[in-house]
Structures are given as C-alpha cells and as structure tokens.
C-alpha cells in the first residue's frame, strides 16, 4: 500500500484565489459581522453624503423645541436645530473619529506590543510601567487632556489612544508570548528565520484575528469615550453636532417632556456600539473557529 494513495482520498482542492475568496465569504457569511459592518457603513455614508433636510449647523430660531413631525422627523431642539439632520451629521464626525482613533491606536499599539513581546528584562520593565500607567483613571486623564489642551480633533484621537494603546500592547504581548512558546515558532527558529521574519511572518498574522476583534471593541469603546467627552462639553466645537453633545443638551430638555432631543442621539450611540460589538463578537468567533 503506497502512502501517496492517501492523497487520492483528499478531494476538492481549491486553488489560492478561490480559497481566499472562500475565507472572505466565510467572514462575511457571519450575519453578525455583516449586519454590524453594514449599519456602520450606512451610518458613515449617511453622515457624509446623505442630503439632509436641514442644515445641521444652522439653527432655525423660529422652530425651536418642536416634537417629531413630518417636517422634522426627529423634532427640533431648543436652539431650533433639526434633530434628524444633526443625528445623521454626527455620524460623519463621531464615527471617523472613533475609527481613526482606533486605527492610530493600532498603528502605535501593535508595533509596541510586538516590541515588548519577548521575555527579556526590558520588556518586563516596560510592562510593569504599563501596569502603573493603567492603574490610573485613564478616562479621567483623557478628559483632562482634551479639556486642557483644547477641543481639537487630534486631542480626541489622543484621548482614544491613551485608553487603547496600552490595551493593544497587552493583548499583543500576551498573545505573542504564548505563541512564542509554540512549536511552529520554534520550527521557524530552527529553520534559521531572523527575528524580524518571526515577528512579521509568523506572530503578526496569528495575532491579527484577536487584534481585529479587539479593535472593534476598541472602536465601540471609542464611540462611548467620544460621546462622553462631548457630553461633558469637551471635544467638540459648536455648532458642529456630536451625539454626546446632543445627549447633554437633550438631557436638559428631558424634564420638560422633550424626550426626542436626547432619545435619537442616544439610540444612535447605542446602535453604533452594538454594531461594533457585533463585529467584535463575530470576528472573535471567526478567529477561534479558524
């Protein structure tokens, strides 16, 4: 009995391109990921391109505090802003901020995480330092930075980074450390791979899945942080809309029965965070079942 016959038993061989497509379909066939990405993209697109019934930055002082109606679907707020227009327009600001903040965190956190993902003395020290840093109330520090350095977008991104970079570093490090013990890394060393090759060709692709899942969570977190910042009145310059700011203004109107000012941006935040969480969960599952 020849052992090559074993090969005959293996059927349906997919060539490279088709396989890649197969993986893509596998990821996108998860309804959770699909719904999540779909809604986020739709919100984003709407935030940028949807023709809005009213200007989101120019209030109409003669139409203040109107309840939802055919003319104003989500009603108007105390200044005469159309809540619908502002809710949609906010997506064009809050979402890119969250995504960019997360991407920048990734760009900084992943290389740093890889750098400290060895067992040496220095990486250990860096991690101890990170422990202390993470012992701080990072949300408060983020708020402090944005408050004190001004409502600039880059500061909001910095705030998102402060919270997320240490998390990415930790995640990458713990995953990579565990992976360093694994046989295939040892095999790579044995094959004479350089450190760079091991990091980039072997470790990085294998932490990509969890990192991606974590990024989605981080984006969800970023949305909340951005909303919280503007809720406190920092991080956004009026009349530019932002969900957090709308919620804060709406909270004041709540007592006089004008629930719509707070409800719609509140739901928008909720929806976005749910979507990011869905994506994260989906990616997590996908990376586990891989």
């Amino acid at each position: 009995m020849s052992e090559t016959m074993e090969a005959a038993a293996a059927a349906n061989i997919a060539p490279g391109a088709a396989r890649r497509r197969q993986i893509l379909t596998k990821a996108t066939s998860r309804p959770a990921i699909l719904v999540g990405v779909g809604v986020i993209l739709a919100l984003l697109a709407a935030g940028f391109w949807l023709p809005l019934p009213y200007s989101p930055t120019a209030p109409d002082p003669s139409a203040t505090s109107l309840p939802p109606s055919a003319a104003h679907w989500f009603g108007t707020d105390g200044d005469g802003f159309d809540v619908f227009s502002r809710t949609i327009a906010s997506a064009g600001r809050d979402l890119p901020l969250a995504v960019i903040g997360t991407l920048v965190s990734l760009l900084v956190g992943v290389p740093l995480g890889l750098l400290v993902s060895t067992k040496g003395r220095w990486p250990e020290r860096v991690m101890r330092g990170l422990d202390v840093f993470q012992a701080f109330p990072l949300v408060i520090i983020a708020i402090a930075i944005v408050t004190l350095t001004g409502n600039k977008l880059q500061n909001v991104i910095l705030a998102v980074m402060i919270i997320n970079v240490p998390r990415f570093m930790r995640l990458i490090r713990s995953e990579a450390l565990a992976m360093r013990e694994s046989r295939f890394i040892e095999a790579a060393w044995a094959a004479g791979a350089t450190r760079y090759r091991v990091l980039v060709k072997h470790i990085l692709p294998n932490v990509a899945g969890v990192t991606l899942a974590q990024s989605s969570l981080a984006a969800a977190q970023a949305i909340i942080v951005i909303a919280a910042l503007s809720f406190l009145g920092v991080g956004v310059s009026p009349p530019n809309p932002s969900w957090g700011l709308m919620i804060q203004e709406g909270a004041r109107q709540m007592t006089i029965g004008q629930w719509w000012v707070v409800a719609f941006p509140g739901l928008a935040v909720l929806l976005t965070v749910i979507c990011f969480n869905l994506i994260a969960d989906g990616l997590q599952l996908a990376s586990e079942s891989d």
């Binding site: 490279g16 295939f184 095999a187 044995a190 004479g192 891989d290």
Partner: protein
C-alpha cells in the same frame, strides 16, 4: 567519520522561583553519516532538550557540539543561522508545528526563502513540489492551510519543510507519538525511505521502544538527563545490561496475547524530581538490584562490549533478560 559529536553536554533550566531543573547531565554521543541514533526515555528524561541543544535552539551550560566538523557552540548568530540549512527538526505535534495562517506551500518554502534567497519563484516552487512528491503529498496540497489536512499529512508537511534544504542531520522529536498506529506506520516508512534516498543522519527521539526497533541503528537510553545505556539496537534491546533499560523493556506490552508477560522487572516508586538529583546512581532509590556502593558517586558509563556502554556497576548482569517478541 561521525557527522555529530557531542561531548559532556549539560543543561539546567531555572524555574520562576529559581530552582534549577537539571534536564540534561553530562551527555556524550556521536552519530555517523547516514546513521540513526535513537534517544529513548520516559517523559521528562531530557530527550527533547538534547534535541534542542543539538540544534542550538537553546544554549547548553556545558559541553561541546560538533556537527560536520564545525564547533556549533562557537558560531555567532549569523553563521549559525546559515548553518541551520544543514540541520533540521521535525516535532511531535504535527499541527502545532505548522503556522496555522500559512499555506502548506509557503511553509515548505520557508527554509528555501531563508537560505537560498537567490532562487526564482519558479525554481522555488519546483523545489517545493519536488519535496512534496518525495514525502508523498500531491502538489495540489500546496494551497491548503494545515488545518484542512489530516494528522499524517500534516506530519508529512513538517518533514517536507525539514528536508527541503537537504540537511545532513534531522532531529526527529517523537514524530509519530501523537499519531494513530496506522498513520504512524506510514510515517515510519517514509522516514526510512528518505534516509536511504538522501543519506541523512537522524537523531530519533522516542519513548516507544517498538518504533525505535524499526528505525534506529543505535540507541541511547536516557534517565533523568543521563545516558544509562548506549549501543547497537540489537544489543541493547536483546540483552539490556542496565536495570533501567530492563524495566523499560519489561513495561512494553506485546499486542500478541500469546506472548506472556511473566517476566517482570519492575522499578519501585516513581522518577525523582530533576530539581534535586540523587547523589550516586540516579536509579538508586528505585533499583531492585542495587548495592550499597551505588549511592556513592561517581557512577560513570562503562564499555562492556565494543560500542556498547552501560552505567550500572553490576553490568554485565548475570541473569539474562528473556527475549521478547518485541526484539524480533
């Protein structure tokens, strides 16, 4: 001439609390060209550590390693990296030793990419396909991810990766122990054939005597990081001269119910911890035929026949070991 010469190799690991784990203690051996030396011993006896030391994946505490006349320990990082094309390894866990995100073709091509970067894509591909044919994998498998293959196929990929640069030495760390019996036989045959075709030397690591019997020319029996007995397979298995080898052999259960198991050479208790090794003979606490002087160091290896060394002071043992079916 020997391809590999190892002299006085020792290695201790350190636990988090600083306790030393004496994994390998003063081990010496040589492997000739085209020869297979088997290392056998129970779990934790230091087999894998010796394999790693040989490949210099970890640094020894003491001892010399010569491969092909080169003193491996004196090599710097770059020369060592380049030398790795001549010595390769196959691990026990076929799936774990393959990068789950890399396609089989890329996995096999990796050593080529590292050591022969001058090759063109097509040349490299050709070499990969050739190697895949050698290990009995269809070239269509090159596009697969490891998880889409059976354990036997995965192990073939691991072997293909190891031999693609035509190494002179292959360390086989229990290459079949996680495989089923039927698959194990396939892999053993493959290894046998490859050695004949390519003239490689093997350091074959196993805890299972039956496969050693089939694969190896010579065998070294390890206990607590120490060689208990070393010699030609026929000699060591047919007439073991060390109590530990005997115990190991008697633990082997023949699949033939007609072969009895009346000969028992049982050791007492369990293996001592490698953190605090016994002073004299490492087997002293468990040995049924020990003498008082066994507790007193040193207990060196002694040659009792040409090419056959034993550590037991009582060797050659007067009472012969009954011949097992396993020895056939």
């Amino acid at each position: 001439m020997s391809l590999v010469r190892v002299e006085g190799l020792s290695k201790a690991f350190h636990r988090a609390n600083g306790e030393p784990v004496h994994a390998v203690n003063d081990v010496s051996f040589a492997i000739g060209e085209g020869e297979t030396l088997a290392l056998i011993g129970e779990s934790g006896s230091g087999k894998s550590t010796i394999g790693r030391l040989l490949l210099r994946l970890i640094e020894p505490d003491a001892g010399t390693i010569e491969i092909d006349g080169q003193d491996v320990r004196s090599l710097g990082r770059e020369p060592l990296r380049r030398m790795r094309s001549t010595m390769q390894v196959v691990f026990q866990e076929p799936y774990e030793s393959l990068n789950p995100r890399m396609r089989v073709g890329d996995i096999i091509a990796e050593p080529l990419a590292i050591h022969e970067p001058q090759l063109s894509r097509a040349e490299r591909q050709e070499r990969v396909f050739e190697t895949m044919r050698e290990v009995g994998l269809e070239s269509s498998y090159a596009d697969r991810l490891p998880r889409a293959m059976s354990g036997g196929q995965q192990q073939r990929v691991g072997i293909a990766r190891a031999i693609v640069t035509r190494p002179k030495l292959l360390v086989l760390d229990e290459p079949t122990s996680s495989l089923d019996l039927s698959v194990q036989a396939q892999i053993l045959k493959l290894l046998h054939r490859l050695q004949e075709q390519l003239g490689m030397s093997y350091l074959y690591i196993s805890h299972d005597l039956s496969t050693v019997n089939y694969v190896a020319h010579r065998v070294a029996v390890l206990y607590l990081g120490q060689v208990r007995e070393m010699g030609p397979v026929a000699r060591v298995v047919d007439d073991p001269q060390d109590p530990y080898t005997r115990a190991l052999l008697s633990a082997y259960l023949s699949p033939d119910p007609q072969v009895g198991r009346d000969y028992e050479f049982a050791l007492r208790g369990e293996i001592p911890s490698p953190t605090s090794l016994p002073a004299g003979c490492f087997l002293y606490g468990r040995c049924p035929i020990r003498l008082d002087r066994c507790a007193v160091p040193p207990v060196p290896l002694r040659g009792i026949d040409p090419g056959h060394v034993v550590r037991c002071v009582r060797a050659p043992l007067s009472e012969p070991m009954p011949v097992h079916e396993v020895a056939r």
